[in-house]
């Protein structure tokens, strides 16, 4: 197990280095640099050139790259020339919102997937199973952003059950009960929209897994020994089928990353996805590249976690 884990972590290192190089190249390809926003046009070009020299913008690219990485390790992601504040601080304001959205979605994904998957797998080929399979089939083909729009239209505007934007009602004092409730209230509709689409692959996986395990010999043995049906399912089948699902949470996070950008845009939810879109429109590229780096590292770590947990749960993977 340790061998697999160590090897898996070693694979991760070149990936992160490559990712940082790619993002550095992207940052260099973008029009304008840190100075184009800082200095007003009246300053004479020689002074700008001097500043450039000072900041190391005229150095060869590999020295610039090393400096950039050094800054990264010190938590310095540069300045946002649009918001006029350090990128770290700017992302810090938004990361909490995206974190709560992601967590709420993840919880909902499992709350929906586990019962539906169990019903569908245990009573397969009944009307309940057909209903659930139909839902997963349509859910697979539905893009998150269309579903989010329709949900906002129906439940946000038409029925008015949920707030239609923001992450909290303005004017509330942080720390009070009302503040927390308002946060949850704003979070609910985006998280439900994301979860209802994000959960379908897990439902399907659980269903297939249960149907698969159901037909194996040890289940026959358990039944032959006279174990009651509830014990067969709870002790024997679910224990085998739920473990891989639980281990998937890392992949689940990776899958949600693209969805949060759409959902945050549609529900005007002030998270990192919305910040990314704003920074692209404002051509605030130091923010945009930092966010790509962050999401990329989140993807790498999410896959890593799931790979390692899966290798513990399912020893067959380790042999590969």
């Amino acid at each position: 197990m340790w061998k697999f884990t160590v090897r898996r972590i070693l694979i991760m290192i070149p990936q992160i280095i490559l990712l940082s190089v790619l993002i550095f190249i992207l940052a260099k390809m973008m029009p304008g640099d840190a100075l184009s926003g800082l200095i007003d046009p009246n300053i004479d070009p020689d002074t700008i050139e001097e500043k450039r020299e000072q900041l190391g913008l005229n150095d060869p690219w590999h020295i610039q790259y090393v400096n950039w990485v050094k800054d990264l390790f010190q938590g310095d992601l540069g300045m946002s020339f649009f918001y006029k504040m350090p990128v770290t601080e700017l992302i810090g304001q938004r990361i909490v919102n995206t974190f709560w959205l992601g967590l709420a979605t993840l919880i909902l994904v499992y709350l929906i997937a586990v019962p539906l998957g169990i019903i569908s797998g245990r009573y397969n080929n009944t009307w309940a199973d057909q209903l659930i399979t139909g839902y997963t089939y349509i859910g697979f083909a539905t893009p998150t952003f269309i579903f989010g729009l329709v949900m906002l239209w129906i439940f946000g505007f038409y029925f008015g059950w949920f707030p239609t934007g923001g992450s909290v009602t303005p004017g509330l004092e942080p720390g009070t009960m009302e503040y927390v409730l308002s946060k949850i209230n704003h979070l609910l509709l985006p998280a439900i929209s994301l979860a209802l689409i994000g959960t379908v692959s897990t439902v399907q996986y659980l269903r297939n897994e249960i149907i698969d395990v159901k037909q194996q010999d040890f289940i026959l043995t358990a039944r032959a020994k006279g174990a009651p049906e509830s014990r067969v399912y709870n002790r024997h089948i679910l224990r085998n089928s739920l473990l891989p699902i639980a281990a998937f949470f890392g992949y689940e996070i990776v899958g949600l990353i693209g969805g949060t950008i759409f959902i945050e845009m549609i529900f005007s939810y002030p998270g990192m996805g919305q910040l990314f879109m704003e920074s692209i429109v404002a051509r605030d590229y130091s923010v945009a590249t930092s966010l790509v780096l962050l999401y990329g590292i989140a993807t790498i770590i999410g896959t890593l976690l799931s790979d390692i947990i899966l290798s513990i749960v399912d020893p067959r993977i380790r042999i590969k």
């Binding site: 070149p14 239209w153 990353i257 790509v292």
Partner: protein, 302 residues
Amino acid sequence: MSKDVVIMSEQIEESHESPSGLKVLWREIIRDKLALSSLILLIVISIGVIIGSAILDYDEVTKVDLFNTHAPPSSENWLGTDYGGRDVFGQLIIGTRNSLAIGVLVTLMSGFIGILFGLIAGYFGGTIDNIFMRILDFFLILPFLMIVIIFVAIVPKYSIISFSLIMTAFLWMGTARLVRSKALQERELDYVNAAKTLGTSNLKIMLTHVLPNLSSIIIVNMTLSLAGNIGIESGLSFLGFGFPESTPSLGTLLSYATNPQTLEYRWWIWLPAAILILILMLSVRNVGEAFKRATDARQRRG
């Protein structure tokens, strides 16, 4: 398991001729009512939008008319007009054509790269396979949506060609992985060894021996990714990073719904486009699922 294989191979020998891959796919479609009606619907929609966009005056549709903005549906504008006074129904027709065209184009291009990449990695195996798979793993960890948006934002001369190239560059991995795993299995088989002993060049074996044997799974894979690509394109256009606004796509019409007023009171602008995207994606998927069953002899209906 091995007994089953023996029995199956005996049966195949008895029937002398096994049906060709394409015939099997076609037979499965005919047997599956849902897939057949989806296919017919797709053909009808495609022909409809091609003829429709040929009849429609393109300049007329994209002409801005500030005296007639946000008009509700009428006999003149069947689905009303958008914020620039442009006819929504006309945009819907042209948008469907554009979305379908870019979907097919991106699917073909990424399929081509994926097949090439997977075939080389799988056929040669060993070190080449190792290197290729590390490259593929790297592409898989990139946050697709963000990278594509950044590329679209920084490409100097942005056009439909560069848009489809950018999409292709980050969408070939699925096909490549599938083709590679199948090619790894194929290269162990006797016919490949026989061809090698006869002195056939590697290139010829790959293209004329291995590739035809993979054709049906490639068709399945590309059909299913066509459905996904239509969704991805409309998503990018929705965010404003797909087609430029002068060439409407279904996503462009949906992006008008980011205006809360339009979302709440003017459903005729965005809802038809949303339904059309769903219909297209579901139909393509239905056809793809039928193909998928056809490639697995145990699940076939036909």
